[in-house]
Symmetry: C2
Subunit: 459 residues, 2 copies
């Protein structure tokens, strides 16, 4: 039986996420990114479209590789300004019942004790709909913002491991399941014998305190992570429940997924329970012609400089140094092979791209595929992609906000439903239960967080 395809909406609290210049389109609302109603309207649209969740990227860094300054990023609004993604969640939770919330927070920059309480608070307020996208911060600018040195790539994951050990113990170990009787008759709100402090000294993160919030529906939020590097895959295999990946072709993703699943199995986890979401953008019309006309219209608004700001940040190459019609040379392709350039080089190794062509491609779709066409054509492309890559769903980007998500919900979802590839309605329960089934609100025993749990009183 074909498997259900899951879909998260991929967003950033900024006027531009993956589509430089499109904020200028008359139907685009991205410039309202700092208004609460923008987010509550979006949440309603996503829940109507049966999206599994809204996944919000974040970082304290800025895109300053292009021309060695922030000017291009500022002009184009390219990930700046950028608001904190945690603070609109309770309003979005209020206007929805099922939508999941995957939010990004940095496991080096945010102090773990307060962060753990923040996640538990959100898990309470959303009735168990919170996920955490664990990032470690790749940019020197993000480190400078908080007055720190950028830690080398692999070491950042070591720090994150230590951070996770601490927050796992706060979430899973500090309070027993039956620690909070709330008993009006006896006057006992919490049973003191069922709560204990977490004590860590001498490492990078120290604490000596009980978790300040009582156990929430999921305790540990659903754990998201994006990492395709060797160390990143090991980290995902250890910790992640949902893994976000991006790549040029479905074929390019399959070996990364297989390797990560293999490592998870070696660690005693069920490899099938690592759910992979790959980046994709859809531009859909009622007919193929309508979709192609939309694409042609959207392309009129592309911000070439903005696209190169993004592309320079992804590759580490300053593309302001080249003329737009210059072919991208082999050594630049090599330098970028592990990041954005593979979008082009692996998909068609013989084609020579100019800087402008790359920018135009990046400006709608980023590092992932763009599926354009009628509902049937887009559903075909999605099915093919998902099955070939072996992913469990899409992290869906958009050309127009919120129109791209609205079109997906009204045009593509019904087609996928007809094919038995999309849920007819939300499953009950928490985000983790929606992903793994009834009774699965908490992390499974094979997850490393479970070692923090104390034996519970039977009954």
């Amino acid at each position: 039986m074909p498997r259900e395809i899951r879909v998260n909406a991929f967003t950033l609290q900024s006027p531009v996420h993956q589509t430089p210049g499109l904020w200028r389109h008359p139907e685009d609302r991205s410039t309202d990114y700092n208004r609460l109603e923008f987010w509550t309207d979006l949440a309603r649209i996503l829940e109507r479209g049966l999206f599994d969740g809204i996944f919000t990227a974040d970082s304290l860094g800025t895109n300053d590789v292009y021309a060695g300054t922030l000017d291009g990023a500022l002009r184009g609004g390219i990930h700046v300004p950028k608001n904190d993604p945690l603070l609109s969640l309770s309003a979005m939770a209020l206007v929805t019942e099922h939508l999941g919330f995957g939010v990004t927070s940095n496991a080096i920059q945010e102090p773990p004790y307060a962060f753990a309480r923040r996640m538990t608070t959100l898990d309470h307020l959303t009735k168990g709909r919170i996920g955490w996208n664990i990032v470690t911060g790749h940019s020197a600018s993000g480190a400078r913002a908080v007055g720190a040195e950028l830690i080398p790539h692999d070491q950042r994951y070591d720090v994150a491991d230590e951070y996770l050990d601490l927050v796992y113990e706060l979430w899973e170990g500090s309070w027993d399941d039956d620690a909070v009787p709330r008993d009006k008759a006896s006057g006992v709100f919490i049973d003191p014998t069922k709560v204990r402090p977490v004590r860590r000294q001498g490492g990078r993160f120290s604490t000596d305190a009980i978790h300040l919030a009582e156990p929430s529906p999921q305790r540990t939020p659903v754990l998201y992570q994006a990492g395709a590097s060797g160390r990143g895959r090991a980290f995902a295999a250890q910790h992640a429940e949902c893994v976000f990946i991006s790549g040029p072709t479905a074929r390019a993703l399959a070996p990364i997924i297989a390797d990560t699943r293999r490592q998870a199995a070696q660690k005693g986890r069920d490899p099938a329970e690592l759910l992979f979401f790959s980046l994709a953008t859809t531009i859909v019309g009622r007919t193929e012609e309508e979709a192609q006309a939309k694409l042609a219209d959207y392309r009129r608004y592309i911000d070439i400089e903005g696209a190169l700001v993004l592309y320079s940040a992804w590759t580490g190459i300053d593309f302001s140094l080249f003329s737009l019609d210059e072919p991208v040379r082999h050594q630049q392709q090599e330098a970028g092979i592990h990041s954005a350039l593979e979008v082009f080089t692996r998909a068609d190794p013989n084609r020579v791209w100019t800087v402008r062509e790359i920018a135009e491609h990046v400006a709608i779709g980023g590092r992932g595929p763009v599926f354009v066409g009628s509902p049937g054509q887009v559903a075909d492309a999605i099915e093919h992609w998902v099955d070939e890559a072996g992913v469990d769903g899409l992290n869906l980007s958009y050309a127009l906000m919120p129109g791209g998500f609205e079109d997906f919900g009204t045009l593509v979802v019904p087609e996928l439903q007809r094919r038995g590839r999309f849920k007819q309605r939300y499953a009950p329960g928490t985000l983790r239960e929606k992903l793994y089934g009834p009774g699965r609100a908490r992390l499974p025993a094979a997850h490393p967080a479970a070692v923090s749990r104390r034996p519970q009183t039977p009954g």
Copy 2:
């Protein structure tokens, strides 16, 4: 003309704030403190009652002086569990239009760069209704929770001064007012010549980055502070717009207020613009008899141990060491004279209190007065208190949640309105404009934050 009396609702995201045991009352909803609807329902009640704002305390510390353990605090739910107060604000903002939000955040424990963005994000989402209660953390348990040593009292304010200098520059100095044209025609979202990094090195807090969020309606949130000590008053005189104080009698507050205002004037600020809010609780019925019956009913639910947990934390004296019927001795009164014991000793220096009597008094009303009676009697008491102390308003606590606030809004507010002491409707604009008048969305030029501002382009 008599001045308008302002009122904030004083809360904590915990089952118990100032009323140990009252969560057991059948009409009390405090045990739902971790549900989103609890907070949105409360926000609607407060806005119907024309409350100026909801003021939420917070700390990462716990009350562990009583018996030298957390057990009493846990049993009674005394400030534990305690959720993060920032995360429900957007939902409360969604269901209200005018209510202000004063939230507590620690200026030593929360990294300033990310905190500044958090406040700016909230100021955007609430359309300028955010205030920040600046605290520095007085408890050893709070320091241990984040793996730090407790900094001595006066030094904490020095650290907070440095913290404020940094966040002021992020809020006021990094972006010009006209830095964000959002111009679809030219494609310029931000004018790069009107944004600049904040650079701080070598002190306790470092950064080298632009503020990541664009200017919000108020830029700097309305600044709240609670500090009656010598150093605390100097800090308030320097930074605070709203000052929260508590004391046993109106007479005891007047000299503190006068001294703080004098110091503010010395610093070039308008002393009348420091607004003082003092703690008070009202128990009001349609008649005096009804109010007294309510008080008698409420007292049946008092948690004596819980009250002593609070009182031990406030005074630093472990009251588990004394029997409940033991008179509180002079040396204990002396030790606590600058904190909670003054509630009793200054109000009636000749009375000898037993431990139990103190606990019963603390359990409804905390360190402030309790006004019990008909709407007219309570309005009389409030007017008398406010005028004698010279405060601008009340930080209102409650016996029952949310009934105490509901009663105040429906019974006391109309009476104060009839007397010309309470607004008939909300003023338009941001929280700061509601406090200081139209055109006052930003801090005045005499405030120390203003030195961070750059000269703006005319026009």
